[in-house]
């Protein structure tokens, strides 16, 4: 299962790779990373069909996570990926906007990787 993580902080990348070390070795998951909404859209242009799940930060310079979500939901014709929003601002407004724009789930920083792992496994089993 291919997962795209969108976050302007590069240090989230080793976190994902280390937390999902076993899964990665078993090739359960495959991670790709984008440092901005724009980069994520560029990435998706070629591999939209491959990506099953997108984890996106909301608060990023330039295109925000909400805009990215809205673009994915409106501009993509093929099978829609699961989109989970992550934000440091665990507030109602961002949650509301995420849900209005078609997010599947909403996570707050700091990420609880065990909870995330459970959620990913559930999605994988369903898929």
């Amino acid at each position: 299962m291919k997962i795209l993580v969108v976050d302007d902080e590069a240090d989230v990348q080793p976190l994902f790779l280390q937390h999902f070390r076993k899964e990665l070795r078993r090739h359960d998951f495959e991670f790709d990373f984008a440092l901005s909404g724009e980069e994520a859209l560029e990435y998706l242009k070629g591999k939209a069909s491959e990506v099953v799940l997108i984890l996106s930060d909301i608060n990023m310079p330039g295109m925000s996570g909400i805009e990215l979500l809205s673009k994915i939901r409106h501009d993509f014709n093929g099978p829609q990926p699961v989109v989970m929003m992550i934000t440091a601002y665990g507030d109602d407004e961002n949650y509301k906007q995420s849900m209005e724009n078609g997010a599947n789930d909403f996570l707050t920083k700091p990420l609880d990787f065990n909870v995330l792992k459970e959620k990913l496994k559930k999605i994988m089993d369903n898929g």
Partner: protein, 449 residues
């Protein structure tokens, strides 16, 4: 000749009157009074007895000479000398006539006409002198009166002067009092100004808080996440050791090492943010420090951005940085310049936020900061595509207490303080370029010392 006696009467009464002897010289008055009545007695005797050259005439002569003598010798009569001179010729001529008549009647008879003429002349002389001196005296009196008048005027002007001096003293005291009051008011204003500057710092600290919270939250999340994952990695490492896959053990160990480094890095990041915040709230540092303007600008750009985002979470802006990598560290009051940058960024975000409120979705807020090393210093340019500054108020934005923000949202001191810090504190310049509803550009030049 009866004129002798009349003259005596005139002389005595004149002397008494002129000297006011009754009051001023009672001692002399006594004699004058007696002389006066004696003269009348002589006149009456003369009229009744009619002895032409009898004893009465000689008494009159003696009296007249006595009067003349006293008048010329006693200082009390000094003022009447002219009167005495006027009658002197008559007295002398009259005496000579009587005397010659007594010695040689024939000689007297022979020269009688001349004596009579001399007496007439002496009487004319007496009256002429009398009137002349009288006139002189009147003139003198008039002069004296004038002098008295002048003296009066002088005294009045002295009184006026004294009054004026009192008034001047009163006014001076009044003005001094006012000066003291003004000084007091000025001192109070200075105190208030200091308090306002402090409250402006606190207000900007308030704006910072949200930004700081976000900025600290991020590194803290990393510290937590990396330490958690490292614990998991150690468990996995143990498993690999048991399995004997030492290659994998090495990989995990290398990851853990990297994680510890990251924990350290993010810990320091949070540390520097807290230190910056403490610095910002401090009253002011006294020495300039070598400062990396790029780092400072970057830090405060993010803080300002998150500060606004804390108020309006839906706000998003493009942050464009264009830093000159060759910028040397320059000696500035770091936190003061930080405050200037924070103020400019906060204003820039505020302007784009306002612009976004009245624009359609196509509008993208953008705030950029650019640094360039120039010949005469470091140039920092802060640009936004917000609502801009109307031409009418462009001159006022640097004035203290001028603000376009609603009451309670801005102190109106931000730019005025920035101006003071850049221009007065660092000898730099600050320039504004703006177009309403299009852009605002602030350009700061900090000289390299």
């Amino acid at each position: 000749m009866n004129f002798d006696y009349i003259l005596l009467i005139i002389v005595f009464s004149y002397l008494r009157k002129k000297l006011q002897s009754k009051i001023l010289l009672p001692q002399i008055d006594k004699y004058l009074f007696m002389g006066f009545w004696l003269s009348i007695a002589l006149l009456i005797t003369q009229v009744i007895v009619d002895s032409r050259k009898g004893i009465t005439a000689w008494i009159a002569h003696v009296l007249l000479f006595a009067v003349i003598y006293f008048c010329l010798t006693l200082k009390e009569f000094k003022s009447l000398k002219s009167f005495i001179y006027s009658m002197l010729p008559f007295v002398v001529v009259n005496f000579i006539e009587d005397f010659t008549e007594l010695i040689s009647s024939s000689f007297h008879k022979e020269w009688d006409n001349y004596f009579d003429t001399a007496i007439v002349f002496s009487i004319i002389w007496f009256f002429a002198m009398f009137f002349i001196t009288r006139k002189q005296r009147k003139d003198m009196e008039r002069e004296q009166l004038k002098a008295v008048e002048l003296e009066k005027e002088f005294q009045q002007s002295e009184i006026l002067k004294a009054k004026l001096e009192i008034q001047v003293a009163e006014r001076t005291a009044e003005i001094l009092g006012q000066k003291e009051e003004l000084q007091k008011a000025l001192d109070e204003l200075k105190t208030t100004q200091n308090q306002l500057i402090q409250s402006e710092k606190m207000a900007s600290l308030g704006e910072l808080t949200a930004g700081i919270a976000h900025e600290i939250q991020n590194p803290l999340n990393f510290v937590n996440n990396f330490s958690e994952v490292s614990v998991e990695l150690l468990d996995e490492m143990n498993e690999e050791i048991v399995k004997g896959d030492f290659e994998e053990v090495k990989n995990i160990a290398s990851d853990i090492k990297k994680n510890l480094e990251k924990i350290n890095y993010h810990g320091k990041r949070a540390d520097s943010i807290v230190k910056g915040m403490l610095q910002h709230s401090r009253t002011g540092n006294t020495t300039k420090e070598a400062t990396d303007i790029n780092k400072l600008a970057d830090e405060y750009l993010r803080l300002a951005y998150h500060g606004l985002r804390a108020k309006d979470k839906s706000f998003n802006a493009d942050l464009v940085v264009d830093f000159d990598e060759n910028l040397p560290k320059i000696n500035v009051f770091t936190q003061e310049i930080g405050r200037v940058l924070l103020n400019l960024f906060t204003n820039a975000f505020y302007a784009t936020h306002q612009m976004q409120k009245k624009s359609d979705e196509a509008y993208k807020p953008m705030v950029s900061v650019k640094t360039v090393l120039k010949e005469n210093g470091i140039e920092i340019t802060v640009r936004d595509n917000g609502i801009g500054i109307p031409e009418a108020i462009k001159d006022k934005v640097m004035q203290p207490f001028f603000t376009t923000k609603p009451t309670g949202e801005g102190t109106g001191l931000g730019l005025s303080l920035s101006y003071d810090i850049v221009v007065k504190g660092h000898g730099g310049t600050i320039a504004i370029d703006s177009k309403e509803n299009d852009h605002t550009v602030f350009t700061i030049l900090l000289p390299i010392e």
